[in-house]
Point group: C2
Chain length 272, copies 2
């Protein structure tokens, strides 16, 4: 089911600035066991993104009603995607003052990942590098060509994710996930200041670690740091936590380690 500004539809105006310039934001939520998980965190990030881009989106209440409508039509566990664009505007980068933001809510099948992903996955290193762009770092905007190009590098679905370096050799994230490493009992995750997305699950894991008295550091990471890691895992709202046990074509191997197991177990029991 797709709702566009509250109406069932599956097309948008060609004049929409989401299409013309990627002028908008999105969120990807898990709808599981009849619940939209981490709804408030997702909507808060969406509002922060609107603020960063200067999109005057004021319809959070409407959006929540429409999310409920879509979810009511959704029998099974699903992925719910929200997009907010700046709306339609004439040709040219200048946004018209009268632009009315467009809201799109769609439901999608939950990906059929094998249960074994919870015990460990193989990833690869992407050739395509992330750029450096502090002005857009953190937010989940619609300018996602870097991820599209990185994800186009492999076909084999047994390689579950690709890790991305940036042009300064900083290890930033996966194409669709945030990255964590465990080192000497500490949790370390790349800082999201020059590029990367501030994932909702990333924030949840950081909060959870705080409650469990596990120290967390956000900092610049490189491949050398990865080599010294005791455990590695990836996060997003759909997969939650996937341990990484191998990087393809390297001698990098890690166990499905104690701290990752503990976080997975605690996360399963946590309020969402």
């Amino acid at each position: 089911m797709i709702l566009i500004n509250g109406q069932p539809d599956n097309r948008i105006p060609v004049t929409d600035r989401g299409l013309q310039y990627g002028d908008g934001l999105f969120e990807t939520l898990a709808f599981r066991h009849g619940k939209l998980e981490y709804l408030n965190a997702h909507l808060q990030r969406l509002m922060r993104g609107c603020e960063r881009l200067g999109i005057g989106f004021a319809d959070r209440d409407k959006l929540e009603v429409e999310l409920a409508t879509v979810c009511a039509q959704t029998a099974e566990d699903s992925v719910i995607k929200i997009m907010i664009t700046r709306g339609s505007g004439g040709r040219g980068y200048k946004a018209p003052k009268e632009a009315e933001p467009l809201r799109i809510i769609s439901s999608h099948p939950m990906p059929d990942y094998p249960e074994s992903c919870q015990q460990g996955i193989t990833v690869r290193l992407c050739q395509h590098r992330l750029g450096i762009n502090p002005g857009l770092a953190g937010i989940k905007h619609l300018n996602r060509l870097e991820q599209v190009l990185a994800r186009s590098e492999w076909e084999d679905d047994n390689i579950r994710e690709g890790l991305m370096l940036d042009i300064n050799n900083r290890l930033v994230e996966g194409t669709m996930t945030n990255l964590f490493m465990v080192h000497n009992g500490q949790l370390i995750t790349p800082a999201i200041d020059e590029n990367g997305i501030e994932g909702v699950m990333r924030a949840e894991v950081i909060k959870l670690a705080g409650r469990l008295d596990i120290p967390v550091k956000e900092t610049a990471l490189t491949l050398t740091d990865l080599k010294q890691a005791d455990e590695i895992f990836l996060t997003n709202s759909i997969i939650e936590i996937w341990p990484v046990t191998h990087v393809l074509d390297t001698d990098l191997h890690w166990p499905h380690g104690t701290l990752t197991r503990r976080l997975q177990s605690e996360l399963r029991q946590a309020e969402r």
Copy 2:
């Protein structure tokens, strides 16, 4: 008039990856005196962009027929915009193998710039910086949030353009134009290797300078270089060449100089 895959229409599927990820390219052409100017150069850049993004667009012939159809419906001088997206695909960055690229052609009123722009304009320096992204540099893709944010910094239409620095303080381009400076009879323009768009008019001016035996250098530029310039001008396919005579809130002033005048005059007479 808008043609989408050859049919008059004004809406696209919400599943189109142009909307979902900015996964596509565009061109902006001038239709003047019954002619689509620099058509071959635009289509060649479009094809190079498709190749860079791995979009298997093979319908150049169809596109040319459709452009002729749109232009035949267009009585006055107009701006013709072409968009090519990767087409519709499921949720997720991975592009489906079977994606059929979407072609959109639309006509728009020619902007009503005053004649005085040909003698000189005032520009401003944008706060928003361009990122560094060699993997996407040069091509005219649909990830244009940087330009949207920079263009949102001012309202006064008497300020005709904003110049953009990148995060390393390199002066790269205007929000919708390429930049040239004249220094000691030489033409200097920012290299398009780390960011920026390889403009069709930029290439035409470089070719024209070659024919006129004016030396051209493509290199990294900074604000300091700008201060030493004898003349400055901006280019794009719609405005052609606009001399810059002042940068707002600075003591930077330049004349509508001899070399700029010569290029404007020669360009008016050149084959297009």
